[in-house]
């Protein structure tokens, strides 16, 4: 790669400053002021908007009365990953989006940051609320140590089952460790949270990709699949193999694995309209790049949340709408991308012949979705898929009764909090399956 088109890795202190938390942990006085604004609604809309149904007014009241320990317990009882959710949940479309303060045209309660405040306090002091349940003698294997797998493992351990998680990566945590934006949730946050949760007593075997399930089936009484999604999708245009072309999830994985110490091109193009495109763009910009997002439809259609788009704009990310890449240019290294303008007829994209133009760049990040792990799922007998997603019943049981599943692999890619809710509820499904409704 020509040296002048590739940026040096910023100095450690500069990285720290640029990647500072967008939602920092509250100070005690902030927490008291904010919590005393909550009016303690009955049948609170915020609770109904939380996929894990945390008793939000109760934990906020407990923060107000300086019963921070009680607040943490209220949160963890419903959501053992309450800390990461407090920091990474798109709260403005979940709990905070439902807060009654919107009806008064006032700022909603800052639920996410209050949640992070209370849970961090308990994690830092290692105040523990749950213990291993009385042994049932049953063994459960979990494939994938992402939010779904971790939540499932914790709940199963409380219920008394012996749990082993098999994780392909070097570190557990799934996308909390290798995916979400580090200015929301850092490597340190992830490892502290995982240590706190796993001390209850389940095993995590890292560097252990499951390729073959026969052995697991023999050794374990039930298996939970929490494998998430696969690698970034191809965009199927010429030049995709040139140097300087990356998949978004791989780029971000590398960024987090290397603790943000990575080099990016001076001019970066990101292809896609979702939240992952935004994350990759903002991260590149924070590393010093000049970033443009190219999206084939218009601003209205992009799936990224409004607040994420605003966040990208604040970081000088430019948007080029109604544009598709048709060819990646370069010899060995990428030098640019040839694009075409589109028009929309209802939802149909109509490329405008003759509108082709070239944008030069030093790096291109493809963020047009992730593949599903169809091959792996098909290697397990009798598991049915729909659109590449594993089909489950209300107990999160697959069509093969020994297997349960939850998280991105059943919903096609939602949020951390959905994965946690699935993992937790699947644990109860597994419990029911293993001890045949014998619990009272």
């Amino acid at each position: 790669m020509p040296d002048n088109s590739w940026l040096p890795i910023p100095k450690e202190n500069i990285i720290k400053e640029r990647f500072a938390k967008t939602k920092p942990i509250m100070t005690p006085s902030e927490a008291v002021v904010e919590s005393s604004r909550c009016i303690f609604c009955h049948d609170a809309p915020c609770i109904n908007a939380c996929p894990t149904s945390i008793d939000i007014p109760m934990f906020i009241r407990q923060i107000m009365t300086k019963n921070t320990t009680g607040a943490a317990k209220t949160i963890f009882t419903q959501n053992i990953l309450g800390k990461s959710c407090g920091q990474v949940c798109p709260t403005s479309v979940l709990c905070e989006g439902a807060c009654v303060y919107h009806d008064l045209n006032e700022k909603p309660i800052d639920i996410g940051r209050l949640q992070a405040y209370a849970t961090e306090s308990a994690i830092d002091k290692n105040i523990r609320f749950f213990e291993k349940g009385k042994s049932t003698g049953k063994k459960v294997a979990i494939i994938g140590a992402g939010p779904a797998g971790i939540a499932c493992a914790h709940e199963l351990t409380v219920l008394g089952h012996e749990v082993t998680i098999f994780e392909a990566n070097k570190k557990p945590g799934g996308l909390n460790t290798y995916g979400v934006a580090p200015y929301k949730f850092s490597n340190e946050d992830a490892s502290k949270e995982l240590k706190y949760i796993s001390e209850i007593g389940f095993k995590i075997k890292t560097n252990s990709p499951v390729k073959e399930v026969k052995k697991l089936e023999k050794e374990f009484d039930a298996i939970f699949i929490g494998t998430g999604l696969g690698s970034s999708r191809k965009i199927n245009i010429p030049g995709e193999n040139l140097k300087g072309v990356f998949g978004a999830t791989e780029f971000i994985h590398n960024l987090r694995a290397k603790e943000l110490k990575v080099s990016v091109g001076k001019n970066v193009i990101v292809i896609g309209g979702g939240n992952t495109a935004i994350d990759a763009a903002v991260e590149s910009s924070l590393l010093g790049a000049n970033v443009t997002i190219i999206y084939r439809r218009s601003e209205k259609e992009q799936s990224a949340y409004n607040f994420e788009v605003e966040h990208a704009k604040k970081h000088n990310v430019k948007f080029m709408y109604l544009t598709s890449p048709v060819e990646i240019l370069g010899k060995g290294n990428i030098t640019g991308v040839k694009c075409i303008r589109n028009k929309l007829k209802k939802s149909e994209i109509i490329p405008q012949k003759g509108s082709e133009f070239v944008v030069s760049c030093d790096m291109l990040i493809k963020a047009s979705g992730q593949k599903k792990m169809v091959e792996f799922f098909n290697s397990i007998s009798k598991i049915k898929l729909g659109n590449g997603k594993i089909i489950v019943n209300k107990d999160f049981q697959t069509t093969n009764p020994k297997y349960f599943a939850g998280g991105d692999c059943i919903n096609g890619g939602k949020e951390v909090v959905n994965a946690v809710a699935n993992g937790r509820d699947a644990a109860h499904g597994i419990d029911k399956f293993l001890i045949k409704n014998k619990r009272k």
Binding site: F40, R61, Q62, T65, N67, G70
Partner: protein
């Protein structure tokens, strides 16, 4: 986890948090929901000869953005028949045998008191509370606070009840007296097993400036009512301390008045209460606030390495002394943390216009400076400062021995 089980004058309950006799305890339906939510006990809405209530009944004091800082009511005792109440009492006691169920009563004649006691004891209730506290409506009929305000009557009626009742008898005191120990000691002489305090305080919460009618209004007119809620807590705590510290008063006390959070409840225990009762906070937020009362007090006990909630009893009351016993040589002065200060200068103007002119402003800084030589250590600046722990009151070591008023040179009686 710390133990919250309570034995109040022989009345056992899983925790010391009870509902006060008031609208939240109107019906068996409500009390059963409260027990399900975690309340340890409940005092049934006062039984008596049926009355009729007005509409509307409540008014409140809001402070800035906070609703119900104080609540006022012109409601009377139960407006449902004795038969209906007794039927529901039976059902509650059968379904929740472990929770404390105490029956509040207010009657005129000895026969009426006795009749109700017998019928309630047959249903297995855990105790009685005598309502001598209602400040409106009932006292005009010679009941309620009319009894609470007259020690002799209080003693006589209490003895009517205690001669019949086999279950513990609690006398509920009205705060509308000049000396709370008089009715409390009268209740003790009458044979009561415990007292509870406070009932509501005589009040008029405000006037509607459009109609010029006092609140709450009933067809254009109003009546004075009974005040309760967070605003009355300081009054209740003081009366509680007076009884706790009275060497002649020996009975356990159930603390009532403005309790909303576990911190409030803890303060009542520290002032000598064995159980606490809550009304307004439940009328505001519902039964579920008990979750934080339980978890907050347990965590506080754990934090202080205490095993049982009774370990808290009276610790702070011992530290509440006569003014004459305080050390006149002790001195604190204010200290401003310039890192925390937001330069609002509220402390400055409070001290300048309202206290001792001991805070200065310098020409090129917005952060005020304490004049340490004139600061008397009154606390005012630290009370008005909007930033938590920005102004602290720091002790000035004087090496002087403790000096009380009796020995002070300025005391004319001192030789």
């Amino acid at each position: 986890m710390a133990n919250l089980e309570t034995n109040f004058a022989g009345i056992k309950s899983p925790n010391p948090f009870w509902l006060a006799s008031a609208p939240p305890t109107n019906t068996g339906y409500q009390i059963m929901n409260a027990f399900r939510a975690g309340w340890g006990g409940a005092v049934w809405k006062t039984l008596g000869t049926p009355i009729v209530n007005v509409s509307s009944r409540y008014s409140a004091v809001s402070y800035k953005n906070n609703k119900l800082m104080g609540l006022n009511n012109i409601e009377l005792i139960t407006d449902r028949s004795l038969e209906v109440n007794l039927k529901e009492i039976k059902e509650v006691k059968e379904k929740f045998p472990k929770n404390a169920l105490i029956i509040s009563m207010m009657f005129e004649t000895k026969e009426e008191w006795h009749d109700c006691i017998i019928r309630c004891e047959d249903l297995g209730v855990d105790g009685f509370e005598l309502n001598y506290g209602c400040p409106h409506g009932m006292c005009e009929r010679g009941m309620g606070s009319a009894v609470g305000q007259n020690p002799e009557v209080c003693e006589r009626i209490t003895s009517w009840v205690t001669e019949k009742a086999t279950k513990p008898v609690i006398v509920k005191l009205t705060p509308n007296v000049t000396d709370i120990s008089k009715p409390a000691l009268a209740a003790q002489r009458g044979g009561a097993n415990a007292v509870s305090l406070i009932n509501t305080i005589n009040s008029v919460t405000g006037i509607n400036l459009t109609t010029m009618e006092p609140n709450p209004t009933v067809a254009g007119q109003s009546s004075h009512g009974g005040y309760c809620g967070p605003a009355v807590k300081p009054i209740a705590l003081n009366m509680l301390a007076e009884l706790t510290n009275n060497p002649n008063f020996k009975l356990p006390i159930s603390g009532i008045g403005g309790i909303e959070t576990w911190q409030d409840a803890t303060e009542f225990f520290l002032m000598g209460a064995t159980s606490v009762q809550v009304c307004t906070a439940v009328m505001h937020y519902g039964f579920r606030i008990v979750t934080d009362l339980i978890s907050g007090v347990s965590n506080y006990l754990d934090l202080n390495n205490m095993k049982h909630v009774t370990d808290l009893k009276g610790i702070a009351a011992k530290k509440l002394r006569k003014w004459e016993e305080l050390d006149l040589n002790y001195k604190v002065i204010a200290h401003i943390d310039p890192e925390k200060c937001i330069s609002c200068q509220l402390c400055y103007i409070a001290c300048e216009d309202g206290a001792h002119q001991s805070i200065a402003l310098l020409p090129d800084s917005r952060i005020p400076i304490i004049k340490e030589d004139t600061c008397v250590g009154c606390n005012l600046c630290s009370l008005v400062c909007p930033v938590e722990s920005c102004i602290s009151m720091v002790e000035v070591k004087t090496k002087k021995k403790k000096l009380v008023w009796a020995n002070h040179p300025a005391n004319p009686a001192h030789i």
